[in-house]
């Protein structure tokens, strides 16, 4: 008899400890939300910055006494590889407790996973990938995106560069959907604006040796090498340009806007230009607030270029869950109806493909080891000159 009483007591204690039994006071219902990004590999600095930013949104919400739920962030690594991304997406989407997720920095991964989210009915907001087809290539109601697409980015890039007086380009792009997209839109806009593409070179996204391509480019004598790809091979291309004595300006895309790129290229980074959709963090409507809070949490890694978007995506998810409750369908429908939602990157409105319109494109140049907004740089002021100018 005593033994049974003891068992009963122990069971009760265990149940209480794991929070199964109702406790005194008002314990909030727990809700899981997800984050997927590249946490390892060559683009991991962007992934970790995004992870921290999403985590910041969750931390701030949990600290808010008015929040209806207590949120738990489930974080998975997609390694910037489509196969790993699909695994991670399937894992997170098949967990019925996860209500919504902020997903993917790499376009090749994001485009591979949209079917998974649609099949499992998990509403997601893409926080970094820029390939247009992720939202526009399908009619999936589950897929949204807070950052802009590569179309606007390349239009601005082409206009800006031809405006500076550059005429001839050679293009190196990776042969994933991401690199091909950049090549397509940039080539289109640069030709429209009177520029000329002397040669286009598709390379694999893990290629090590670019000497053959670069030697050929050297013989074409372009003024600018346009690189449509991500940081890891961008670093290699820049380093090998130097070794072969290729004397052209290196122009990148949003895919190289990260501190890792500057670390990897070292002294060779100076005077490299790149473009990214969205205003720089410090000039965003809520940029100051975001940076202060980020600082306060003491994360080991910087938030990087897409951190504010990851924060916005997660915050929007949390706002929506607060409004309609932890139900995937309800959250999906509410997200689709998002119009003029106030956020740190400005107002978020989704069109019928779940795409937010981000009108501002920021032009960057690397000056003294920092991504500097073009207008604030010594290059724009004329005290320094871009290569070939």
């Amino acid at each position: 008899m005593r033994r049974r009483a003891l068992t009963y007591a122990v069971t009760l204690a265990a149940l209480a400890a794991f929070g199964v039994l109702p406790q005194a006071g008002e314990a909030k219902e727990k809700v899981k939300v997800g984050f997927i990004g590249p946490l390892s590999g060559g683009t991991s600095s962007n992934g970790l910055g995004g992870r921290n930013s999403a985590d910041l949104a969750v931390q701030l919400r949990n600290a808010d006494a008015n929040a209806k739920y207590e949120y738990e962030l489930v974080v998975l690594d997609d390694e910037c590889k489509p196969d790993k991304g699909v695994q991670a997406a399937t894992k997170i989407a098949s967990d019925k407790d996860v209500i919504a997720a902020a997903t993917h920095y790499c376009s090749a991964v994001a485009i591979a996973t949209v079917d998974v989210y649609n099949r499992f009915g998990l509403p997601v907001i893409v926080w970094g990938a820029v390939l247009p087809d992720i939202t526009y290539g399908n009619d999936y109601k589950e897929v949204h995106r807070v950052n802009g697409t590569m179309i606007n980015q390349n239009e601005t890039a082409a206009k800006f560069m031809t405006g500076l007086g550059y005429k001839n380009w050679a293009v190196i792009h990776d042969t994933t959907d991401y690199g091909k997209g950049h090549n397509k839109y940039f080539s289109q806009y640069v030709t429209e604006n009177g520029g000329k593409i002397l040669g286009t070179f598709g390379v694999t996204s893990d290629q090590q040796d670019f000497t053959a391509e670069l030697t050929k480019i050297k013989s074409l004598e372009p003024e600018v090498i346009y690189f449509g790809g991500l940081t890891p091979i961008g670093v290699r291309v820049r380093a090998q340009m130097e070794k072969l004595g290729v004397d052209a300006l290196f122009e990148g895309t949003s895919g190289i806007v990260s501190d890792t790129f500057i670390e990897g290229t070292g002294d060779l980074a100076e005077g490299i230009v790149a473009f990214r959709e969205g205003a720089p963090t410090e000039t965003l409507p809520g940029g100051q607030f975001f940076m202060e809070q980020y600082e306060k949490q003491g994360y080991a890694e910087p938030s990087e270029a897409y951190g504010p978007f990851a924060f916005t995506a997660m915050n929007l998810i949390l706002d929506t869950i607060e409004a309609v409750g932890p139900d995937r369908k309800e959250v999906r429908n509410a997200l689709n109806a998002t119009q003029g939602h106030d956020s740190i990157v400005g107002e978020v409105s989704f069109d019928d493909h779940g795409q937010n319109s981000v009108a501002v494109i920021t032009k960057y140049v690397i000056q003294d080891g920092k991504w500097t907004v073009w207008e604030d740089s010594e290059y724009a002021a004329g005290t320094r000159k871009l290569k070939g100018m």
Binding site: G41, G202, V203, Q208, D209, A212, G245
Partner: protein, 306 residues
């Protein structure tokens, strides 16, 4: 095409070819003495490069900044460690399976390669990220027209050449080489002549793996970057080079390495379509060569189908 550009292509090709040849020689040595394919060879190369990098970081911590000493220590540490690793692989994975079907050896080395690769990825600090490799050689460059001649490339080519000549001398001019050749030709007879078979196999694996480590360091110095996946493609290319040259023949392996590099360079330069297909082109030609000369260009008399 002007002479400067042509020289540049030749230089690029020579650098690649030298690395491929060093890897291919390892494959061919292993096959020579034991008739086995060691598919962990490429990953041994990668581990060698990481050993070199770790040595460099260790030296920097100790405050050693003299480049000659740094290069020497990096190469020495990598080759010695990988020689040991190679001997261990032979002793505990390959030799015990000697009487098992050749497929088992193939499989076990393939597995080992994955284990090595994943170990670096998981256990080396932030091993999943590409690691910058220091430029330890002088980086001066001379511009001759369109040709950018770099001193470090020249030094590496020279070092690679010396290593290959060294291997040639060891195989052909020493008692050890005689023993290796004897074992390769006929194991039983070699044993009855008093040759310590196990020792010769271990030494051969040590030599082959040290060559891979050397190629790994070269790879790091050439690209100034290494990552945990470096060995994967280099292993496949090295193996293909050994095959087209004629597996079991050292000169064939060297020739194969340079042929493969030439094909890759040609694929990127001379073909009208996108350079993304250069590997497709190179491996395609390898298939054709194999169909034409199944035993390789400088093949042994007996064909061994893999």
């Amino acid at each position: 095409m002007d002479a400067g550009l042509l020289s540049q292509y030749v230089m690029n090709g020579l650098m690649l070819g030298m690395m491929y040849a060093l890897v291919a020689v390892g494959f061919t040595l292993f096959f020579g003495v034991l008739d086995v394919i060691n598919f962990s060879h490429g990953d041994v190369l990668m581990v060698g490069a990481f050993t070199g990098l770790a040595t460099y970081i260790g030296l920097s911590e100790l405050g050693v900044a003299w480049p000659v000493l740094q290069v020497g220590a990096v190469v020495l540490a990598a080759t010695v460690c990988m020689a040991l690793l190679g001997a261990l692989i032979a002793r505990y994975l390959v030799l015990p399976l000697k009487s098992a079907p050749a497929l088992n050896t193939l499989l076990i080395t393939l597995m080992l390669g994955t284990v090595l690769r994943e170990s670096i990825r998981l256990f080396y600090p932030e091993g999943a990220n590409p690691k910058p490799f220091p430029a330890l050689l002088p980086t001066d460059a001379y511009r001759i027209g369109n040709f950018n001649l770099r001193v470090d490339n020249l030094l590496m080519l020279l070092a690679g050449l010396l290593v290959i000549v060294g291997v040639h001398l060891v195989i052909n001019r020493t008692k050890l080489g005689l023993a290796i050749r004897a074992v390769a030709q006929d194991e039983e007879t070699a044993k009855t002549m008093g040759i310590n078979f196990t020792l010769i196999v271990l030494v051969t694996f040590a030599i082959g793996s040290a060559l891979a480590a050397f190629a790994g360091i070269m790879n790091g110095l050439y690209y100034n970057e290494i990552n945990f996946g470096t060995g994967l493609l280099l292993g496949v290319i090295g193996f293909s080079s050994a095959i087209i040259g004629g597996l079991g023949n050292i000169y064939g392996a060297i020739l194969g390495g340079f042929i493969f590099a030439t094909l890759q360079t040609l694929g990127a330069v001379a073909l009208p379509f996108a350079s993304a297909y250069k590997d497709v082109f190179a491996f395609g030609v390898v298939i054709l060569i194999m169909a034409w000369r199944p035993t390789g260009l400088i093949g042994e008399k007996v064909s061994e189908r893999v």
